[in-house]
Amino acid sequence: MSIENLKSFDPFAEADDDTGDIKKVENHIHIRIQQRNGRKSLTTVTGLPAKFDPGKILTFFRKEFACNGNKVNDEKAGEVIQLQGDQRKKVLDFLVDKKSGLGLNPDNITVHGA
């Protein structure tokens, strides 16, 4: 009997849920920067929650940060927002800000790059 009970619990299924990075990655927002030529750079924002419309966020970014930008559909990363210039700080502020921003949990956001 007890063995039967034990069987019903699949340890690996649990582990996959817990440690499976894929799930976390989806909720996790990454803000990256890439260097371009000269002193120019490109900021990418991946993993924005699906409940937000990337197009609207993008237009807001463009207007607010006075930079150009576009959104790209990537196979792995999904909708990615690209912005010209180093906008990491501003993007982070916006994502975290509760009043005028999205009010997301800063723990779910990683800023990459030096």
Binding site: Q34, Q35, L42, T46, A77, H112, G113, A114
Partner: protein, 338 residues
């Protein structure tokens, strides 16, 4: 010539950056930067350390105050150390305004700031305020006045709302407060007191973790050479490949290793930037999250996961694999040209 000049400029800039050591994990320049002119170094390091000294002295001062206070009134709770007497006085004045009702409301549950003041003048103030604040509390206040007199004589105690000031020993931190204090608050008090009075312990048990600063040189116009990666990774007991992979993933570039085991990174990076990334790397892949000791080992566990094992406390935790993530394509034309 140009390169030399640039290098010099870079070094100057980088020196500043190295000096900053406000994080617990410190990539410190001390000693090891022999390449950078030794003459200026002491200053830098001195500067870098200055932010740390005041807390120490403050802590010492706190101790002194503590003892003197304790001598004055033996009942003083241990946690109300960190204040100068002068400070205490000031606080009393401020708090006393709100003061008396606190005791009254303590019973009600919601208690604003309260202070057992020593001065008679203070008490007068309190009384006035109480009356002003509400007639309902009059009964309380009457009792309270009496109580407070006792309190004041006993010790300097201040009660704020539920979360009092733990440094002054107010609120739940009052010496003879009977309310149960939640574990999280106790814990946070422990750590604040620890970091105040024993900064060393609250850091890593050892002193700060020191590794030589990354040496960065510009190679050509758009490549950066990370010269002492071998040294750094050896000190952290990590493989160069792992650190390299992390650097590339973080910086969003790629690169190669040259003949002298130096790392050539594509893109312009200053020492400060590399330093930041190395710092992040240390936090994520080197220090033990439990005891903060940098004396750890990274190895592959059973199921393709990387584990960090601490040699100091024996804890073991898994770390995330290094992921490059999305990288946008930059400059199609350049790619076509090669």
């Amino acid at each position: 010539m140009d390169n030399q000049v640039q290098d010099q400029i870079e070094r100057k800039a980088s020196r500043k950056s190295v000096a900053f050591t406000d994080e617990q994990l410190v990539v410190e320049t001390d000693g090891s930067i022999t390449i950078m002119s030794a003459a200026e170094e002491p200053k830098e390091t001195a500067l870098s350390h200055t932010p740390r000294t005041p807390p120490l002295s403050a802590a010492l001062g706190a101790f002194a105050d503590n003892s003197s206070q304790a001598a004055a009134d033996e009942l003083a709770p241990p946690e109300d150390g960190g204040l100068d007497l002068s400070l205490l006085k000031k606080k009393k004045k401020k708090k006393k305004v709100e003061g008396a009702d606190a005791d009254a409301e303590a019973e009600d549950g919601a208690a604003p700031a309260e202070d057992g003041g020593l001065d008679l003048t203070m008490k007068k103030k309190k009384k006035k305020v109480k009356k002003a604040e509400g007639a309902e509390e009059d009964e309380f206040t009457a009792k309270l006045k009496q109580l407070e007199v006792k309190d004041a004589e006993e010790a300097e105690e201040a009660v704020q709302e539920d979360e009092g000031d733990m440094e002054t020993g107010t609120g739940v931190w009052t010496h003879d407060e009977s309310k149960t204090i939640p574990y999280t608050m106790l814990l946070s008090r422990f750590f604040t007191v620890l970091s105040q009075k024993n900064p060393d312990h609250s850091l890593s048990g050892t002193k700060s973790y020191k590794i030589p600063p990354p040496q960065c040189m510009r190679e050509g116009n758009r490549k950066t050479v990370f010269a002492n990666i071998a040294d750094i990774s050896k000190r952290m007991k990590r493989t160069e490949e792992h650190l390299t992979a992390y650097l590339f993933a973080e910086l969003g570039t790629n690169g190669s290793v040259d003949g002298n085991r130096r790392l050539v990174i594509k893109g312009r990076f200053q020492q400060k930037q590399i330093e930041n990334v190395v710092r992040k790397y240390i936090i994520e892949y080197v220090t033990c999250k439990t005891c903060r000791s940098p004396d750890t080992e990274l190895n592959k566990g059973e199921n393709r996961l990387y584990f960090i094992t601490c040699n100091n406390c024996g804890s073991r935790r898994s770390v995330t694999a290094i992921k490059t993530g999305f990288s946008a394509q930059i400059g199609k034309r350049k790619k076509m040209q090669g």
